[in-house]
Symmetry: D2
Subunit: 345 residues, 4 copies
């Protein structure tokens, strides 16, 4: 079995297990008040260069999006996202569950266009009837996007400026942030993100942790009583140390960045073996998710070979868009084996 | 530091870390579809003697209570609990957050009285105005309760019968189920619970796991599309194996029961050292939570000695009810050290 | 048939129908932006002596309580009410439906005790665990209460001071406000209420209107975008003039107060006929709701005589507490007829 | 002032005021249990030819959509609507407020296409990931649509069949149903609607009532405890007779249909005066809402002439789409006056 279906097919980076083992019998206080959680926060504050940042650890992506968005919106507000945004399509209505509409803009290779955002908000306020409509209350983008694409610094700045103009907090979903930061084709640093957004999260689940996402309010701007709201959403871990120790490990000796870099290098190899065999890419992704247009007949053979991938969407009658992911755990050997399989198709 | 504040002060039982390490680089599918999760389910099914049981793994107690209750209630229904029930007081309104009232009955050492439940429901339906009130839609009990007390089999049967009479599903919160099952003063088995309830959960977080609770619908009676509802509540773990492997380990070679037994034995020792020193107990608890009435002045000294416990509630002007917990990880040595501290007070 | 079951058994005061007829074919703008709504607001502002007051018209009591409370609470807050408060028992969970817990204090003849409120809030903040609990976010009282009783000015002031101390907005449910203001046993004026509360409503449905409640934020302190929140709760009337014209009429030439006075005078007559016949009162009510303890056997005869009243709650095996209401529409003749029936029992 | 901005600018049909006056001092029971409400229900049952129909009266359109949709959906389901559907754009997020996503399909002159609906639902179930997405739970259409357009019987049948195929209840928003039924260009009768939908409502607010919408479950298929759910949504009128008497009047001697016919005839006159003056229509509407493309400069002059209309949306730099409505109350004289104004522009 070769599983390229996602970037969360393995357990976690071995150093995390080491740290969990080493600290295992120490007694700590609960709910994220322990010393490892504090240490992890300090390391993240240091990396983004902001001592004032408020940081919280949640367990998964949907939970994080739901809790952050619901906590920052007023009752009559919705969150602006592109049509293909994770919160709009793949979270089982978790945002609407908390009472908020997802206000969907067109997606451009998974990305939001700053000008379209501006026009949309301007149009909303220009509408004489807007008191009967859902107010745009914050903006959600993902980086990398659900298609593996990345905002440039210029694009991110433009969105941030539009948000500033309309006083809309900007939330960046970094479920795969490590892979975005380590891409060879990006000019966006984590410090840029801390500067240009109002809240973002550093994904752990998809970048080497067993679970866990670090929510960062870079300007110390977390909502009042955010811990209580986390609890109310069912998202407060009793043994907060589980997340604390994991992030403390990930942000020691650049582990987070180094293992993300592995995924990028393997993705480059993956692209190469498909390109050499004349496969077409659905989109040009500079990160660890690669979308390839494959013939349905070949997919059946891949299945026989026990190669696992994700079926994304039908491309045409005879083809399907499929996703292959690399991760912190992918090896060159695995890519080579996949190449051999491709040769057999 | 000696920390008796809760039963989740350590990491997890070492065998869990071993299992996580051993399986770490295996690739599995996500969201609880992996083989370890399947194996854990099978072991639990076998222990409760019900092949038909539906089992799901969630991450924490509040999350589990919120998701289970919200998924089983109709919009116009509330959940009946005793006043001191965890869902009524210590979950930051997580139940009301999902739109449901907690209908509170009197607590008797943390327990619900079957007759009072029956009278309450009968009274509700007898009220000509009940269409303007919240319908009782299910019954929530905890076992052990928040005060460490236990239902007898007779009591549990009586509640179950009242529930059956009024067609109210009975939900048993087993956050500390292991400690209840291994108490020397109980005649309730896990098979009894599977028989007498409609849904219950086997707590992992407080009984040796890093996180995780096993929700059991013993009669195969889980709500349709429960996985989607878990996702909608932000409670679906991407790396479901984390929970799967933990419960697979806990239910191998009776580990869950053996480590719970340790907590009970240490609790007996704990009771003894307090009783020998003439402390009064707030309640007679046969499980791992012990509630002791202590002078405020002595508590200050305990604090100086770096003994950590939980302040429960004021008893009178000069005394406080405090809670000392043992757990799967507590050692006789720790109890002895505590005894020495008590002698110094 | 003689119907004393409630104070909303007739249509509306005839002057309201006259006003509706007179203005019927005039064209107005919708959603409460018409001139009659403006005029009604001005009249209410004048009566409470506060030009700065924000006023909105909603349609019914539960809707008003739900919309006001939900709009003023933060997500993690609940509303403090006495156990017998309407929001706690007779609104089908409309408050919890919007995500908020009703935090119930003991009721004293339907009233909240300022000292108990203070102790409760102080106890909440003193609890080291309060971040895991529902924060008290506002205080709800009804005046008259659900038992017809009234706060004295001293009592109201005391509650208002406790609210001020803890920064909790005070909300007064005035579904029957007119009857409270016109009671012979009150020292509370509408100006007092405007001074001592943060928001209150002047009930129309139970005091002579077809429907409608006037929500008053006396200090111009309505939540931002309250109209949008009303719409979101499904509570914005398209033909807002229906409420506007009604309240404009009720607050012309003291109609509201005069018709409320009628109910009080009839209630005095009602009390007299019961007292003269040695019936016991469950509570001493100075307003239009009278609670009488009657033998079950006599109730059966009352039913035969086609007298309609409300069964409140069982008093003992042989007796029931029943409610008789007078209203703006009750006549002395009706009371006299009831006396005749009582003589026949 | 000539107000064509909406179809709810006047009070109500004079016969309704007559009926309210005539019955005003009668005492009735509350919450829709009175004899007028019963009579209104019977008349509607008779008109749709279904004795088994369950009927409820609510107060306004958004409230009705919110209550019906929320009551019929399961927690994990959303409602399918076209992009321009009222629930998707002009209800301040009232649907999402209750936890449900609006799943938006393309609109074709305001209408849903049966085939697109079928493809969408088929695609949803074909997606291997659909357990992580919002399930389509019911279908919402408006007739007339927000653009005044109408479904043909064939189109309605097709949608109904797709709904049947996928077991999705079909909900028809009839806020302006009268105008649809009396259009000269329709082959859809109210009996057809009762046959082809699972629930629909007969709008009162926009067709001659002060307020009120009649929700019809034609097959006796109302959700269990629907009254409690209405109450929970804050939508239960204490003086239910207000709605009952209005609908009883509207469905006596075909009043509802006759006054709707007036709006259609006036709309024909309105179309004529615009067409004669070479204005272009944005859409060809066979009902009482007419959408006209007007030059911005002319709109300024219309404003000076105190003609009121609705600005719908910008058409291009120099033009705006505006809406003129006729109603049960519009007179030929008003249309003629408008023609004179148009001549002056």
């Amino acid at each position: 079995m070769m599983n390229f279906a996602s970037d969360y097919t393995e357990g976690c980076h071995p150093k995390i297990l080491e740290a969990l083992s080493k600290t295992n019998l120490e007694q700590t206080t609960g709910y994220g008040t322990d010393i490892y959680t504090e240490s992890a926060k300090d390391k993240i504050r240091s990396i983004i260069g902001r001592k004032e940042a408020d940081i919280f650890f949640l367990t998964g992506g949907t939970q994080t999006n739901q809790t952050v968005i619901d906590s920052m919106l007023k009752m009559y507000e919705g969150v602006v996202s592109v049509q293909t945004g994770h919160v709009n399509v793949h979270e089982a209505g978790a945002i609407e569950f908390t009472g908020h509409k997802v206000l969907a803009l067109p997606a451009h290779e998974g990305k939001m266009d700053a000008e379209e955002l501006d026009k949309y908000v301007a149009g909303f306020y220009a509408d004489s009837d807007h008191e009967h409509m859902v107010f745009p209350g914050m903006v959600y983008i993902s980086h990398p996007t659900e298609f593996g694409t990345l905002y440039t610094k210029t694009e991110l700045k433009a969105i941030s400026e539009v948000c500033g103009k309309w006083k809309l907090p900007l939330f960046l979903d970094g479920a795969r942030l490590g892979y975005g930061l380590m891409s060879k084709d990006t000019d966006v640093t984590i410090k840029d993100i801390a500067e240009l957004t109002d809240v973002f999260y550093i994904g752990g689940t998809k970048v080497g942790a067993l679970c866990g996402e670090a929510v960062v309010f870079p300007k110390g701007n977390s909502p009042k009583h955010f811990v209580t709201m986390i609890k109310e959403h069912g998202a407060l871990l009793a043994k907060g140390r589980l997340n604390g120790i994991q992030f403390d490990t990930l942000f020691t000796d650049d582990l987070y960045f180094n293992i993300a870099k592995n995924a990028i290098e393997r993705a480059e190899e993956l692209k190469k073996i498909f390109a050499e065999r004349n496969y077409k890419f659905f989109m040009n992704s500079p990160t660890n998710q690669q979308f390839i247009i494959m013939e349905n007949s070949k997919l059946l053979k891949l299945d026989e070979e026990e190669v696992i991938y994700s079926r994304w969407e039908p491309y045409d009658e005879a083809h399907m868009v499929v996703r292959f992911c690399t991760s912190w755990a992918t090896t060159t050997e695995q890519i080579e084996k996949l190449a051999e399989v491709l040769d057999r198709l």
